[in-house]
């Protein structure tokens, strides 16, 4: 990594034994928690976070403080869930935090729980994240021993227990209502909204679901204040963001940047530019569910919610997938469609049947059995899934198919007419 990136969130990454509480404490850890508990009423913490403009880092970008304010007054118990089911292909930022700075995650959970008047918090952890599990589990034990969790935290009378629940490998369980179903021991099906989890969530009680990175930001904001946080980013997308870059760059990895940084800075300066100097073809800016962009378009945008949306895609979870000219777009899309076909929960018809159908068509095209009419058929299927499905998984599945057909149709046409791949030569 180079010195060009900001190191606030990732300040502990790379420090020896960064996951141990001693290391964390020696670097100023749990100061924010003490400040929150001793100096602020819960509502004040909510206000600070709202003022900071922090937006959910799981992909949807919903303002965190506003979400907390949705909690109905006087209804208890309330629950907080740290969504650590990081399952979007292309994302691995939460994993870095949980493995190397687990106390930062715990501190974020503790402050958010205090702000939301929660006494039971859950970490819903992606099942495959073995090391994260051990690091978080140990961190909870250490934090409890030091009085940062459990009964009467730091002598303030505030109680909080944090439980880890490991997912069973289903992508849709990262969707907050499906996560709730799974957490309740049920099939991982999304639930109807409304009621939204903040009103009626886990066990039908008010529940806040926040992404790992979102919660990880909270101690910094509480410690240094909303204005300090707003020194980075744009007016509507303030603060710092982790970006996971994968694919055809020299140095893929997790990078921290202020919101609004040019994409080119990330790709060329931090990641060392295209791998082996091979020109780029496409960039998926926010994880597999966000629309694919032609590289030249993507490289002109800035990394914030508004800029990327205006350029035709979404910032999502900040998972930047870089694709060079040697890569077949049809094959890439086929793989992504296969993922969504596999991960569709089966609850609603458009997603269940549509993802299966799209995959079958792409499979034929990829294997030299495409028909000209398949391309428009695919677009129509996309149209019939998008915004018709029960939860956002359907829209996610449509993302790569529709965008690749829009921007790289000639590759599909070549596949159909020549029965082989354009890039394989």
């Amino acid at each position: 990594m180079t010195g060009m990136q900001t190191k606030v969130l990732l300040r502990n990454i790379g420090v020896p034994n960064s996951h141990e509480i001693e290391t964390y404490l020696s670097r100023g850890g749990y100061q924010a928690l003490q400040k929150a508990l001793r100096e602020h009423q819960p509502a004040e913490v909510v206000r600070i976070v709202a003022d900071s403009g922090l937006r959910g880092r799981g992909g949807a970008g919903f303002p965190t403080g506003r979400k907390w304010m949705f909690l109905p007054k006087g209804v208890y118990p309330r629950y907080l869930i740290c969504n650590a089911d990081e399952g979007e292909p292309g994302t691995f930022k939460d994993r870095v935090l949980m493995e190397h700075d687990p106390h930062g995650v715990i501190e974020g959970i503790a402050i958010a729980s205090y702000a939301c008047e929660v006494h039971q918090a859950f970490i819903y952890l992606r099942g495959e994240y073995e090391l994260s599990y051990h690091r978080l589990r140990d961190a909870i034990v250490q934090a409890s021993e030091r009085g940062f969790l459990g009964k009467n935290i730091l002598g303030t009378g505030y109680d909080l227990d944090v439980h880890i629940v490991r997912g069973a490998g289903s992508y849709v369980c990262g969707e907050e209502t499906a996560l709730l179903s799974s957490l309740e021991g049920k099939r991982g099906h999304p639930k109807l909204k409304p009621p939204f989890p903040a009103t009626e969530g886990l066990y039908r009680k008010p529940t806040i679901v926040n992404n790992v990175e979102t919660l990880f930001n909270v101690p910094f904001i509480v410690e240094h204040g909303a204005e300090w946080y707003r020194q980075w980013g744009t007016e509507r997308s303030p603060g710092l963001k982790l970006f996971c870059v994968s694919g055809h760059v020299e140095r893929p990895g997790t990078y921290e940047l202020p919101m609004g940084t040019p994409m080119r800075t990330l790709i060329d300066d931090l990641c060392g530019g295209p791998r082996d100097g091979i020109p780029l073809k496409a960039i998926i800016p926010g994880g597999s569910s966000t629309p694919m962009m032609p590289a030249e378009v993507a490289l002109q945008t800035n990394l914030d919610y508004e800029s990327i949306f205006e350029a035709g895609s979404l910032l999502g979870a900040g998972a930047v997938i870089v694709i060079n000219e040697k890569t077949c777009i049809v094959r890439t899309t086929h793989r992504l469609a296969g993922f969504y076909r596999h991960e569709s929960c089966g609850k609603c018809i458009p997603c269940r049947e549509g993802t299966d159908w799209m995959y079958k068509i792409l499979h034929r095209i990829e294997h030299g059995q495409g028909r000209t009419e398949d391309l428009d058929l695919l677009l129509d299927i996309c149209d019939n899934i998008a915004e018709k499905s029960f939860c956002p998984l359907g829209d996610a599945a449509v993302g790569p198919v529709r965008s690749s057909l829009t921007h790289f149709r000639e590759e599909y046409e070549f596949h159909v007419s020549e029965k082989r791949c354009l890039v394989d030569g």
Binding site: S170, R341, G346, I349, C351, R352, D356, W357, N384
Partner: protein
């Protein structure tokens, strides 16, 4: 839902609907059809299938009509929104991509929502060229239902019905995405008694009946609205007949009876109707053998023999048994025949509702009872729909279910407490509850009894600890039950036939009334297990009651009916069934007519007694054990072949209607009785037996029974008629009822408890093919203490021995029965367990011996 109404505009049409209802409901009230798959009006909406997408002005994207609540002035576009129309069309296309389209061989064809919607909204042409997915076809989920996973559209209505109504979590979704399928859990076939309802609500042909499968195309069926005759609930049904054979039974909605559901017995057990064993001609005993005869021969013979007995031995030498399974019309005419033509009150029926019992006032009302107490009553096997209403009370409103029964029944699953007792201990148990309620509830409860102070002295003897040895009910359970009762806002006591057997009718009801008068707004209802138990009683098939339960001993009533029927009614008290038995044995009864009843099957005493009757006429569907003893056997029409009324356990009169012709020469009961009467009365009085139809019999019934005035088949209609609940005079005084536990008999130290199973080997069910595979082998349940006492282990073959005889059973050792009793299901063993029972029915004592 509030009382307020709002106005919404759907496709340009103004619709007024209750605030809080959904867009789907609003559209439906306005007659605007919105297609659905997952939505069902009786299930909680889930919004899963997306078939009901509509456009709502001001809301982003499309909305599911089934889950979107209306707002005032909402503008909804169903058929006028191009986006919504396209979405629904696309959804049908999605469904059809992998649907097998095997409509020509699918039972659902012709009444299939997918078919209909494919026609209405579908694209009409397929763009799908891929290979269809393959899943399990012809996949049995149970003895009764087969699943085709390829046809399934995964609406999970079936799962949700079993979860939300039956509380039987036996079906679920397995796999994910395109590989999702409905299945049972491994090695656990569907066992729910409500599973058949999933066939009805399945919007495709995924779930089909193994009994109806390939029997007919649905449009070939002639459908007749009728009522199920298999228990006291009287579920409203439709008989589907093709070529003079009942092919299927489906439910018919009646919110006062069965909502939209029926149990699997009612649905699947119709095989008896068209069974080859049905009696098809009258039979006359010639040279010791029953031989076919014409109606002329049979009726002439009966008339001649009855006239002869009248001449020689007088009217009191004859008796008749009606039935709580045949129509009101048959029962009415039978007692009319006995009283008017023969001049005797010797008429009764077996299983008569005990004196003091009152009908349940409402089935849907069960839902709003917060505590339901089951006294010797097992709705799950005796009146299944009652169970479904109770489950609704439990699942939706958190009702408590207290169970007083010698053995644990299915409804104990809601935590009871279970008050196990030994038969004969009913009064002790109730006195114990009265005492415990007074102890727990203190002033509030005591204040309800006017004579509380003087009652305390006799109640002293009934502390829970003292009651425990008297009836076997643990003191802790009694206290726990009392806590629940004291808190109850609207408790309901459901009494079953078993409750009054051990302690006697009067004592059992008096003791119960003591308890109910101490509680808030308590009500008692009798759960009659047979289809026309109230009807048989109402029609006067009882020695001491004329129709309408008008006492025979009242001269004024006797005179009035004498003039109505044009005869002088006999003031001589009649024999009841318990009295008929010794009269038979002593040779006092010379002639007897039994309709729709098989006493010889129920007890050995009865069989022996009936053998001594010189002239026995049996009228039934099958050659029952009693029929084999008869001189004349008359074939009668089944419920599917005759018109008439049945009175259910809420006193509701409901019509059965002929759906097909009876087999052979079989005739409706009313016709047979009328024809016989016409042969026996002088020609000038024949006019009084001028019944041309069941309807004309009912017209007379409506004149005779005071509460039925003005009723006719027309007024009964499709939904039936229920009398206003009788005003029960609230008692203010505790009545002293002392427990009288049965004395011990060292030779037979155990008490025999019998009970119904839902599926057994009774006369009708024995002829229902697949149902028979669900009947267990004969077993006896014994308590672990009893097992130790007799040195018997679980699974041992044993003899169950009473003073009447012995029968072989396999032992099940379980602590779900009270010590000192054994449980044997009725109608499962052959010979029947009745062989061990002595009449009059009360307590039967038994012992066990290991089979060598």
């Amino acid at each position: 839902m509030s009382d307020q109404t709002v106005c919404v505009i759907i496709d340009g049409q103004e619709v007024r609907c209750p605030a809080g209802c959904t867009v789907y409901e609003a559209a439906t009230t306005a007659g605007i059809h919105i297609p659905t798959f997952c939505h069902h009006p009786k299930l909680v909406p889930v919004g899963a299938c997306r078939q009901c997408l509509v456009e709502v002005e001001g809301m982003r994207g499309l909305q599911t009509a089934c889950t979107t609540p209306v707002r005032d002035n909402m503008v909804v576009k169903v058929h006028t929104s191009p986006a919504a129309v396209k979405a629904r069309k696309a959804n049908i296309e999605f469904l059809l991509t992998n649907h097998p389209l095997d409509c020509p061989v699918c039972d659902k064809g012709g009444e299939c929502p997918l078919q209909n919607q494919a026609m209405q909204d579908g694209p009409g042409q397929s763009r799908y060229v891929e290979e269809k997915r393959h899943k399990n076809k012809r996949y049995p989920l149970s003895e009764l239902i087969v699943l085709d996973q390829e046809r399934c559209v995964l609406c999970w209505r079936c799962i949700r019905f079993l979860d939300e109504w039956a509380d039987d979590h036996e079906l679920d979704l397995f796999g994910r995405g395109a590989d999702t399928r409905i299945d049972t859990f491994p090695g656990r076939p569907l066992r729910s008694k409500w599973q058949g309802n999933t066939i009805d609500i399945c919007p495709v042909g995924a779930l089909t009946s193994r009994i109806f499968r390939f029997e007919a195309r649905v449009w070939e069926l002639t459908n007749t609205a009728s009522v199920c005759p298999l228990c006291g609930v009287g579920c409203n049904i439709v008989l589907g007949v093709k070529n003079q054979k009942v092919r299927r039974i489906t439910p018919r909605e009646n919110m006062e009876v069965n909502d939209t559901w029926i149990c699997d017995k009612g649905r699947f057990a119709h095989g008896f109707v068209d069974h080859p064993d049905r009696l098809k001609t009258p039979l006359i005993r010639r040279n010791g053998k029953l031989e076919p005869a014409t109606w002329e021969e049979a009726l002439d013979l009966i008339a001649a023999r009855l006239n002869a007995i009248l001449q020689e031995d007088g009217p009191q030498a004859m008796a008749a048994l009606g039935s709580n399974q045949v129509t009101n019309e048959a029962n009415y005419l039978l007692q009319r025949f006995m009283r008017v033509v023969l001049g005797t009150n010797n008429v009764d029926h077996i299983g008569r509702i005990p004196t003091g019992a009152t009908p349940l006032t409402s089935l849907p009302g069960l839902e709003h009872r917060d505590v339901i107490v089951l006294l010797g009553c097992d709705p799950s096997t005796e009146a299944p729909l009652v169970e479904l209403w109770i489950k609704k009370a439990v699942l939706r409103h958190g009702a408590r279910v207290l169970v007083a029964n010698p053995h644990q029944i299915e409804l104990c699953r809601y935590g009871g407490p279970w008050l196990g007792y030994r038969p004969g201990g009913e009064v002790a148990l109730l006195n114990g509850l009265v005492r415990a309620v007074l102890d727990v509830g203190a002033k509030d409860q005591a204040a309800r009894a006017a004579n509380i102070e003087e009652s305390r002295s006799w109640l002293k003897a009934y502390t829970p600890e003292r009651v425990e040895p008297l009836c076997g009910t643990p003191a802790a359970a009694l206290r726990q039950a009392a806590e629940v009762l004291v808190q109850a806002r609207r408790p309901l006591f459901l009494v079953g036939p078993a409750w009054t057997k051990g302690s006697g009718e009067q004592r059992a009801f008096d003791a119960l009334a003591n308890l109910t008068l101490l509680l808030n707004d308590a009500e008692t209802g009798f759960v009659a297990g047979d289809a026309n138990a109230w009807g048989a009683l109402q029609m006067g098939v009882a020695p001491h009651w004329y129709p309408g339960q008008q006492p025979c001993q009242d001269p004024e009533i006797r005179n009035r009916l004498s003039s109505f029927w044009g005869t002088k009614l006999s003031p001589v008290p009649g024999l009841d069934w318990d009295g008929m038995l010794p009269a038979c044995a002593q040779g006092k009864l010379k002639g007897m007519w039994i309709i729709g009843s098989d006493p010889a099957h129920r007890s050995q005493t009865a069989g022996e007694a009936l053998k001594r009757i010189p002239f026995l006429v049996v009228q039934d569907l099958f050659m029952t054990e009693t029929a084999t003893l008869a001189q004349v056997v008359l074939p009668t029409a089944s419920f599917a072949e005759t018109e008439g009324t049945l009175t259910n356990l809420t006193g509701r009169l409901q019509m059965i209607r002929p759906a097909k012709r009876p087999p052979g020469q079989a005739r409706p009961d009313w016709w047979i009785i009328t024809e016989l009467a016409r042969r026996m009365v002088e020609s000038k009085r024949q006019k009084s037996w001028d019944f041309a139809s069941a309807a004309s019999v009912f017209q007379e019934i409506a004149k005779v029974i005071p509460g039925y005035r003005g009723l006719s088949y027309t007024t009964l209609g499709e939904a039936g008629w229920q009398p206003a609940p009788a005003q029960v005079k609230a008692r203010r005084h505790l009545v002293r009822v002392e427990a009288d536990p049965p004395s011990a008999d060292p030779n037979y130290p155990l008490e025999l408890v019998t009970g119904r199973l839902l599926y057994d080997r009774g006369t009708l069910l024995r002829r229902a093919s697949r149902i028979q595979n669900l009947v267990p082998s004969p077993y006896v349940i014994i308590h672990p203490d009893t097992a130790n006492q007799f040195g018997i282990a679980h699974g041992d073959p044993v003899w169950l021995i009473s003073s009447q005889g012995q029968l072989p059973f396999t032992v099940l050792v379980s602590d779900e029965i009270v010590a000192g009793t054994v449980f044997v299901p009725w109608n499962v063993s052959d010979p029947p367990v009745g062989m061990l029972v002595s009449e009059p029915e009360g307590l039967t004592r038994v012992r066990l011996a290991k089979q060598e």
